[in-house]
Each structure stands twice: as C-alpha cells, then as structure tokens.
C-alpha cells in the first residue's frame, strides 16, 4: 500500500465533517430507501434491470448502431467515440466551428471521466457546471466525491467560503440563501450560453431517445435555452427498447435519493425547436472508453448493469468513514473501484480495492444486481497475478496452511507475550504489533488446540455422523466454542468427528487475491472432509461455511480447475452453518429446549456472511428466543463489525472506527449480553468491549444454547 494512499485515508478520517455528514446520511438513507421501495417488489425490479442491461451489454455495438440510425433519422447527429481524446476533440471542433464562447453543463459523469472542462477552458471556452453540487466543486477546483451528491463532503461554511472567494463576497452559511445565490448567478449563464452539454441516464436504441433524470431542473434549461445541445453518453447507458426505461426509472430515484421519482425526467428524441423557432442542433456522443472491453470480459460484463445510483456508496461502512476523495478518481465507492480499474488502469485500483471489507451490503441493495464484492476480489486476484504475491504474504500462507506449525507459532508468540496477557486477553503488544491491539484486545492462544481437545471429549457412538470444520479461531483461540457445538449435536444423537486433514478455509488467501493458495486449501479440505461418510459438515464460523458452500467452487472456476468442481459440489451439499443445522434438528424433533427459563435480555449482531451470503439470520434469533432469551434489536444490527478477517490487520485505522460504531450501538441497546454466530466477530467485538471497559458479555450462539438443549422426547 502506498504511503500517499494511507495518508489520504488518515486525512479523511481526521475530517470531522466527513464522518459526521456521511454517518448521518447513511442512517437517513437506509430508512428513506426502505420507505421509497414500499409496495415495490425490489427483487423483481432488479431482475428486470439485470435482464435489460445484460442483454444490452451483450450487444453494445449493435445497439449503438441502431441508436445512431434512429436518432439520426430524427435529425440528431450521432458520433461514436472509442476514447476520451476523440470526444474532447469533437466537442472542441464543434464549438470552434459554431462560434461557441460559453457552455452550460448539466451533470455528466462521462464528462468528468474525460476531464472535459479543463480541455474546453484550455480551448478558450467558458464552461459552467449548473448542477449545484458540481458547480460548487468546480469553483473549489475539486473532483466529485460521490456520483449523486458531488459535494457531500463539504459543509455549508466551506461552500460559503468558496462562493465568497470565487464568485462574490458577502455570502452567509444559510443553505436556502446559498441555493438562491446559485440560482441567481447561474440563470444568466443559461440564457447566454451558446451550447448546452448534458449526460444521459438511459439511451434507447429502438427510438433514439435520451432519458435525463434531474431534481434541480438544470438539465431542462441546458437542453432548452442554448441553440446547440451535446449529450455525452457512455455506451453502457444503452437499452434496446423504450419499455426498458420503466424498471430503471423505478429503481434509480428510489435507490439514489430515496425519491419515488425525481422532480424532472426528460425523454428527448431528436432535435426540438429553439426559442427562436429554428431547430436545435443536437449532437449525441456515444463514448466507449473501454466499456466494450469490459463487456467482453465474462467476469466484468455485469458491471455494465450499473445505473449509477451510488447506493453501493451509501450503504458502505468504509465509504461513510472516508468519503470519496480517497478513491482518487472520478468514480468512487465499490462500483467506482471497478470502473477505475477499467477506465483508467488495473494498477490504479491497487490501493483502493483494499478498502473493501467484503461485508456484502452493496450487493444486497444494488439495483443492477452486480456482485460488487466478488468483482473486487477478482480485481485482487488479477492484481496478484500481474504483480505476484509479496514474499511476506507467501511466508505467512506457508505457515497458516500448516495447522500444527501455525498453532505452534501462535502459541509460542503468545507465550512470548505472556506478560501482556491477562484473563484470556492480550491487551497490549510491543513494537509494531501495537497497532493490532490499539483498539481491541486480542484473544489468548489456547494451550491445547481444539483438534487435540476434541479427542478427549467422550461422545456417544451415534448412528449419524457430522464432520466439524473448526476454522482457525475455534481451533486455536476458542476451543470451548467447538466443545459447545459437539455437546449440542451429541444431544441430537449425532457423533462429531474432526477430520485431521482440515486446514485453513482459504478465505484469507482468496481475499488477498492469492487464488492458487486458496485452491490448494479448498482441495485439502474437500479431501479431508469427504474422507469419511458423514451426514453434515458443520461449521460455527459463517465465513468458513461460505468457503465450504460457495467459495471452493468459485475459486476452482476462476482458475479453470473444472475437474475439481464435482468434489466442491458434494461438499457444498453437506456443509451447513451451526444455527441452521440446530434449527433443522429442533424442527425435526431431534432436539428440544429445556422448559421455562427466563435467561434475560440480549441483542444480536448479524455477521456479514451469515446474513448476506447464507441468508440465515433468522435461525439464531429463533433458537435464542426458544432457549429463553428476550431479544432486543439494536440499531444497525446487521452492519459489519470491522473485523473482515485480515482486513483488521491490514487497515486497522478503518477497522477501529467501524468497530467503535458497532460498540456504540451495542451499548445503546442497554442489554447485558450480545450474541453472534461468528468467532471472528466474537474476537473483534469482545476485544473491543474489553478495551472499552463496557460490561456487556459477548458470546457465540452455540455457547448460549449448549446448556439449554436436550434430546427430544420423554
């Protein structure tokens, strides 16, 4: 990671306005979005958007040609451009030929992407952005920090300062007055401009129509008052049919700004009359700039389903801390990382792709049904292939993959730090390791790993067997959690075996882009876990469960190891997370709860992978309630805790404030106990609360259920 990037993160984190404004917005957005989608079947809408946009992405060239033909039949001039320089030159030449001195622009991310304003100014043309946010950042000589709200990083005081310095002194930080000021100052520019430049949200091939969505009304003025209208449209905005507008218009305002519809939507098909009765000159530039390359890439084609709503930014636990400028380019946030890697260069995404903690929030809300976290992992993989794995990382994986050696190293390190460990926690670590324990205490390393401990547990010889997949944390730090799982399954008459050959689930390797390492992990685990004929492969770690159920196959597929897919599928069919399995056993009448206990109040933290990948967040809640706990939901119960596996080691400066917010929400629930299903979350949250000194117990659901279940029947 480059030090300039690290520094930009630190600058962003120290900007109190940024965290405040974005933090508040993220809360309001969540509620507003939910309300805006009331009565709408979001899954159905986004399935249609995917269908429409994926179809278009599959035939961009064909649709661009149809669009050109239809729009030109209506009197527009359509120019297809492959790269930014062509677009800039076309507009500059047109402006020169028509004697254009002044241009007004409504919002166009495509024009930002190609840095159009600078080039026009160098060509001696005055350009004014008219979207309020864009105008502010143009005056402040900045780039947009958010696709929908370009100036969300600025306070009204900062905006006032910019107006005072760049436009006219004497403004005060009163928002309605600032808006009125902008209206008054920009109105003459609209009336005097010779050319209006807009973007478009949708381009319809069959009719040659452009759809422009705005709230301020500036696009209506830009497309009405100047005698020339130039629209710059990325080819990914193309859809085949006029009816395809509907699902996009249904989702875009709801997802972008939690509106049912924006104040204005204009559908422009060919030139309209000018105010003096002459026909307007309409130029439409269909810009490719690597979008066709993306469309040909089987992995990244889906990124063209983006409708630029920015909801992936609005729900991101990292974006709300650092804002958009750390992304360094025009497009920000999750989708911005992907677009930057393509529109600029893969290398440009090297640092920013590391910001993604893989919580999956964006995937749930994306109206284009884009698997953004997966595409970011794919960037990581390609970067690792291009640049090779760092030597240190290689050495770490070599140790991690040798279970006994890994435990021995951890245990030795732990004993070496014994003076720092007290009642099961490591609170401070010396030297460079200090950063790891700055914001949370780390768990101690157990003297006997679970793989050895399990042999001492006396189990009934059951008819049915389950293989237990422990993962690192249960094996080395929380063996008592593994014991709880064994006890509960024994109650249901299931014998638990621990296949010795099991190793790391490969998540750390996969999340670092080291797919070959992850594939080896997958292969070793498949062999170990399927060696014995078991009914279930159970894990008490959702991240591990996701690896067993989905990632092994995904890694094999990525690497073209098709021969291994069959084994991965057999394992996936048996793999199940702890709570889902236990609820199944309860439902089947093989386990029942002891009677009549009131175990008090608790709140529940949803682990990212359990909630968003396995979709299993109801099972633990039901089980805990049946056991006798009274559940009180906390605010943002399903927001990431900041652990993210090795993320908390790579970017502790981001992991810490994400955890801090989580701890705040837990404490605000005013309950003595918080339950969760992931040992990683247990480590992060228990460590955080320990540092914090708050008296809230942190437990894995398995530990809370262990004493409360018994075999069913008399």
């Amino acid at each position: 990671m480059q030090s300039t990037f690290r520094k930009s993160i630190s600058v962003a984190l120290q900007n109190p306005n940024l965290a405040g404004a974005l933090g508040r917005f993220s809360v309001a957005y969540r509620e507003g979005r939910a309300k805006a989608y009331e009565g709408i079947d979001f899954e159905a809408v986004r399935a249609r958007i995917r269908e429409v946009k994926s179809d278009a992405a599959g035939r961009l060239d064909e649709l661009a040609e149809i669009f050109k033909r239809r729009a030109e039949a209506r009197g527009a001039k359509v120019f297809r451009a492959s790269d930014p320089a062509q677009v800039r030159q076309y507009i500059l030449d047109l402006a020169k030929a028509r004697g254009v001195a002044r241009i007004v622009k409504s919002k166009s991310m495509a024009s930002e992407e190609i840095h159009l304003n600078e080039h026009l100014r160098e060509g001696g043309i005055e350009v004014a952005e008219t979207d309020l946010g864009e105008w502010i950042i143009q005056l402040a000589h900045q780039t947009p920090s958010h696709m929908v709200m370009p100036a969300i990083h600025m306070t009204k005081e900062e905006v006032t300062e910019v107006f005072n310095q760049e436009v006219e002194p004497g403004q005060t930080p009163d928002i309605p007055r600032l808006v009125q000021f902008a209206r008054t100052k920009l109105r003459p520019k609209f009336l005097e401009a010779d050319m209006g430049i807009s973007g478009a949200n949708i381009a319809v091939a069959e009719t040659g129509s452009l759809v422009i969505v705005t709230n301020e009304g500036n696009a209506r003025l830009v497309t009405t008052l100047p005698r020339i209208h130039v629209a710059i449209v990325g080819v990914e905005k193309l859809v085949a049919a006029f009816r395809d507008i509907e699902p996009i218009l249904t989702a875009l305002p709801r997802s972008a700004t939690a509106q049912l519809l924006t104040s204005y939507v204009s559908i422009i098909t060919g030139p309209v009359p000018n105010t003096d009765g002459t026909p307007k000159e309409l130029h439409i530039i269909l810009m490719d700039n690597r979008r066709s390359d993306m469309a040909r890439d089987p992995k990244f084609k889906q990124a063209l389903q983006c409708i630029r709503c920015a909801s992936c930014l609005n729900v991101c636990p990292v974006f709300r801390l650092v804002g958009g400028h750390v992304f360094g380019k025009t497009y920000t946030g999750g989708i911005g990382t992907i677009l930057t890697a393509w529109f600029d260069a893969l290398k440009q995404s090297e640092d920013i792709q590391g910001l993604c903690i893989q919580c999956g929030n964006c995937k749930v809300v994306c109206p284009g049904l884009i698997d953004i976290p997966e595409l970011i992992l794919e960037l990581r993989r390609r970067l690792a292939v291009e640049q090779g794995q760092p030597a240190l990382q290689k050495a770490i994986f070599a140790v991690v993959n040798n279970r006994r050696m890994f435990h021995a190293v951890l245990r030795a390190a732990y004993l070496g730090q014994k003076p720092f460990a007290r009642d099961g926690f490591i609170r401070h670590l010396p030297f460079f390791l200090g950063q790891l324990t700055e914001f949370r205490s780390l768990p101690a390393i157990a003297p006997v790993p679970f793989r050895d401990l399990v042999k001492r547990i006396r189990q009934p010889k059951g008819l049915e067997k389950a293989a237990f997949y422990s993962g690192c944390l249960i094996d080395f730090s929380y063996p008592e959690l593994g014991e709880a799982v064994v006890r509960i399954l024994n109650q249901a008459g299931i014998e638990v075996v621990f296949p010795e050959g099991q190793t790391c689930c490969g998540a750390p390797a996969r999340y670092s882009g080291a797919y070959e390492v992850a594939a080896q992990n997958a292969q070793d685990n498949i062999q170990a876990l399927l060696a014995e004929d078991v009914a279930y492969v159970v894990s008490a770690c959702p991240t591990c469960t996701v690896a067993l159920k989905q990632d092994f196959a995904a890694v094999f597929e990525s690497l073209g190891m098709t021969a291994r897919l069959e084994g991965a599928a057999r394992l996936a069919a048996k793999a199940v997370d702890f709570s889902t399995l236990v609820r199944r056993l309860v439902d089947e009448g093989r386990l029942s709860f002891k009677d009549g206990a009131d175990l008090g109040r608790l709140t529940y933290h949803d682990s990212c992978h359990l909630k968003r990948t396995l979709d299993a967040c109801q099972a633990p809640r039901d089980l805990l309630a049946q056991a006798g706990y009274r559940l009180e939901e906390m605010t943002e119960c399903d927001m990431c805790c900041g652990m993210g596996g090795s993320y908390s080691l790579k970017l502790p400066e981001l992991s810490a404030p994400i955890l801090e917010r989580k701890l705040g929400n837990i404490k605000a629930a005013q309950v003595p106990l918080v339950a969760m299903d992931c040992p990683g979350c247990v480590m992060q949250i228990r460590g955080g609360l320990d540092k914090d000194g708050a008296r809230v117990r942190v437990e894995h659901t398995a530990r809370l259920l262990a004493d409360r279940l018994e075999p069913d029947g008399p």
């Binding site: 946010g133 009336l191 009719t207 009304g217 008052l225 049912l260 309209v272």
Partner: protein, 186 residues
Amino acid sequence: MESLFETFKARAEAVSAEVHRFPTRQGAFGFILGLLKEQQVLEGPQGGALWAPGSFLDGAARERLEGEAPGIGFQVTREAAAAARVGISQVDWGIAATGTLVADAAPVEQRLVSTLPPIHVALAQTGRILPDLAGAMEHLDPARSAYLSFITGPSRTADIERVLTIGAHGPERLIVVFVDDPERGH
C-alpha cells in the same frame, strides 16, 4: 377516478406540490385569476404571467382572459418567460403512484413557462390520471413527441449538507389545477 386523484394528491403534496381540483374550466380559471391577483400580476403590466397554448385555452377563453386579466401574456418568448413570475401550461397525463405530471413538451413554449418563472401552474384533466409509471409508459410515444417531460413537484436540491431546499433552477412552486370536465360550462 376518485381514488386515483386522491393518491395523486397525496403523493404530489408529499413532494411539495400544491393540488387543486375543479368541476369545470370556469372554476379552474377563476382560481388562477385569484392566484395572479395574489401574486400582484393580474392587473399588468402584461407579462407578469405567461400562458402557453393548450386545448383548455380555446379562442373564446383566451379572449375573455385578455379582457379580465391584462397581466397575462400569451406570446411565449424566452425573454418573456425569463421575466414572468407565473408560467401556466397544460399537461397531458398524471401518474397517481408518484404524483407526477407528464407533458409533450416539444413545443418550446411548454418548456419555457414551466422552467423559467418561479411559479408554474399546470392544468390537467382529472380523468387523465394513470395509476403508475408502467401504465403511463404505454401512453407515451417518442415517435410523436421529441421532448416528453415528467414533472414531480417543484425544483429541488439537497446538494449542500443533504438539506432539502425547494427552488433550485426551476420553479419553487408547482401548482396543479385539475379540471374534471373541461368541455362543460364555459
């Protein structure tokens, strides 16, 4: 019709539009004259209010208005629109689910009176309210209009600190005036 109107009204008011309804054109025109009086543009000079062509405004109606309200101009130019306080136009459809008006805005007069003046009065027919966007799309044909315009509430921005502010570049007031039966009683 009743429930579509009620839904339209609720949704449009939720985004700060003002919604009125009259059985006949006469009632609607009376209301508009009252508004112009209140805005102090009824008596002139001409051009304080600008009325774009539309089917409600037939020859007889226009003649009468010219007599009663010298402040209304009917020659829509960019200069006149930029100077006017109130712009009046007729729209083609309403969409109940979102409180949206839809108009064929290809004639430039339609756009000028609905973008430049701070107050936009939109005349609409109650019977032409459609349930939702999907329904509306079926009635729209880009082959017949080069500029289809959807309007939902007045112009707005939240670009400074996410604070919603009404009246950015377009009208700060949108007043929707529905007429149940434009053919009757005029």
